[in-house]
Symmetry: C2
Subunit: 378 residues, 2 copies
């Protein structure tokens, strides 16, 4: 089982920095996990991920279950060798994609039935099947199957979903225990919608089981930003401090800074990769759209002091040219920069926490953004 | 000006191996030049090209003139810094793309007028403008503007085109001489369609000018393979042996072997890059289509003894998965393998020539292909 060693605790905020020891190496927290939906972080090689500072990546169980399928990944002994990534991998349960992508999905006490969004084939996803698939992927951190709900949802709806999520978490936990794969760690997911008392109930029920880590699910599903952060603020202290706290599917650079301040250790989000493919590039001063005509003759890199491969070798003019002509290299160079930005942000936060200067870091973070935005630099 | 040093001359064939000394480094011949149409060899980084053994790449003047335009590339002092490639670059004249891509193109003694295939804007391409654009790209090997004709073409049509090509070559040569940029070498292009006496006339007219190298154009335009090779066989000896001989836009692995045997030094073709993006992968045994269902559970690399990055780390099953799910990494990994295959083939030919064993190499080359094809291995 993985363990968390908290190395530094901010005295001004709940921010903390630590090390998660897994069977595939150490993860320094707080950490962002690039999303590798189909067994590849879109446009990047594993070596490039490592160069960007990636220590753990995320795979999507729903997608990999459909394509290429467990029987293929089994031939490689798991996802790691299949995709040539030696480090830890976290996999989601598949529930969120069934909820958001699959066709004609139905939920019952037993689990989900759904039709593949790829070919319409019929499938069943139960808590046990989800863990079984994640074990086939040889995931280092597996997630319990949960029931996702849309925003807004009624209290009753949120309550029923959290209760089912708790029962499924028990089934996931029991199934995992019986298979005796302690290296394939299992995290519980707190649900409860936007209702504090339901979040409290979910946390209380989930933490009764000895999961090696806990996640907060059901955030960043369309609710206002303050509500999202408020729910995280309320829920994070309900989780045990000696285990990793993971906020799923979040977020913007600002979200990461705020949620680290509130005590979160782990994050994942498609934003840096997806935005890169849409020409949106992150910088300390804010986001720039590389398609913008003003970059046509701009010989500067995306960000002057950025040490990523893209910024060391290429100009905004070149990146704009590649993007406008839809060259494949555009997606790679943009993604590389954005992933580097996200991981550097996490590393910078970790360093600030280690010096107990998180508030100073946070002030500087916002100062740079506002200055540049005000000046219209970007 | 560049110089060719012929190091080895096959005693059984016209094959030869040498070194072309340019202002940006040495090119070992025979050499294949990957095509980087828009300032990027599609899907690859410059470092990956170098890892594959690339020594010189090709840029397309027509495309770069339209996008991003000379005024942008000028800011970088040329194409090299713009695209982060330090080695030699050969650029075509733009004539072939005006002929094959542009809309409403018209030809006169002065040059071409055409409409951009991108936005319909009107442009003029004269011999002088072509050289001027190639100088702006800081091309290490510039090509004379020529008149391309379709296949089949009448003798009269071919004759008129070659005569105009000769007059334009003179204008290119004069313009180049006056600008005094000896590091931006200029090659003449032999035309003449599929008529030996016209090829002879073109070679005689062109070699009267002191170009640092010569190309054979107008091949691989739809004619039968034997006719293409026959024209190359006839024309190559008409070119001076102390200068590089370049066959434009060719070809398959078999073409390269046959044309090296006939004395050609340089090649370019979109085949390895374009086919890679269509899932066609080159191996010693022949071509395989990675989309084929039989590769779904194939844990072997594309080619067992291939040393490319793709074959060292990834299976056919993974490559098929990436290709079927249209992941961006598919195009990169496939292209990397194909470019590595082409450049290794050239390096192997060079090594065989240096040992004066080219015929033995050639027999082994065909033996491997036929064996595998017969066995249905691929």
């Amino acid at each position: 089982m993985l363990t968390l060693q908290v190395q530094y605790q901010s005295t001004e905020t709940r921010a903390r920095a630590g090390r998660i020891m897994t069977g595939r190496g150490v993860i320094e927290t707080p950490i962002f996990m690039p999303v590798g939906t189909l067994g590849t972080v879109k446009a990047l090689s594993p070596e490039e991920l490592t160069d960007c500072g990636a220590q753990i990546i995320l795979g999507n169980t729903y997608h990999l279950y459909l394509r290429p399928g467990c029987e293929v990944i089994d031939l490689f002994g798991g996802l790691h060798r299949f995709m040539h990534w030696d480090g830890p991998i976290l996999t989601d349960s598949g529930g969120f994609q069934v909820f958001s992508l699959a066709k004609l999905s139905k939920i019952s006490e037993e689990g989900y039935t759904f039709q593949s969004h790829v070919d319409g084939s019929r499938h069943t996803l139960t808590p046990e099947i989800s863990i079984d698939v994640q074990l086939c992927l040889d995931s280092d951190i597996m997630m319990c199957l949960d029931q996702c709900i849309q925003y807004p949802a009624s209290r009753e709806e949120a309550k029923e979903a959290l209760e089912l999520t708790t029962r499924w978490a028990g089934r996931c936990f029991n199934f995992w225990e019986k298979t005796r794969h302690p290296q394939n760690n299992l995290f519980g997911i707190i649900q409860g919608g936007m209702f504090p008392e339901l979040r409290e109930r979910s946390a209380s029920q989930l933490t009764a089981l000895d999961f090696p880590g806990f996640a907060i699910g059901g955030l960043s599903v369309g609710e206002p930003i303050d509500l999202m952060r408020g729910m995280a603020d309320f829920t994070l202290p309900l989780l045990p401090d000696d285990k990793p706290k993971y906020i799923m599917g979040v977020g913007t650079p600002e979200d990461l800074v705020e949620l680290v301040a509130l005590g979160a250790d782990m994050f994942d989000c498609v934003m840096p990769t997806r935005n890169a493919r849409n020409g949106q590039l992150f910088t300390a001063g804010g986001t720039l759209n590389i398609a913008n005509a003003r970059f046509r003759t701009d010989t500067d890199p995306i960000e002057a002091d950025c040490t990523c491969y893209t910024c060391r070798h290429y100009s905004r003019a070149y990146l704009r040219h590649l993007y406008k002509t839809r060259e494949l290299l555009a997606y790679r160079l943009n993604t590389l920069h954005n992933i580097h930005y996200y991981l550097s942000l996490m590393a910078d936060m970790r360093a600030a926490i280690s010096r107990d200067e998180f508030m100073e870091f946070r002030r500087a973070f916002y100062r740079k953004r506002h200055v540049s935005v005000d000046n219209g630099d970007l």
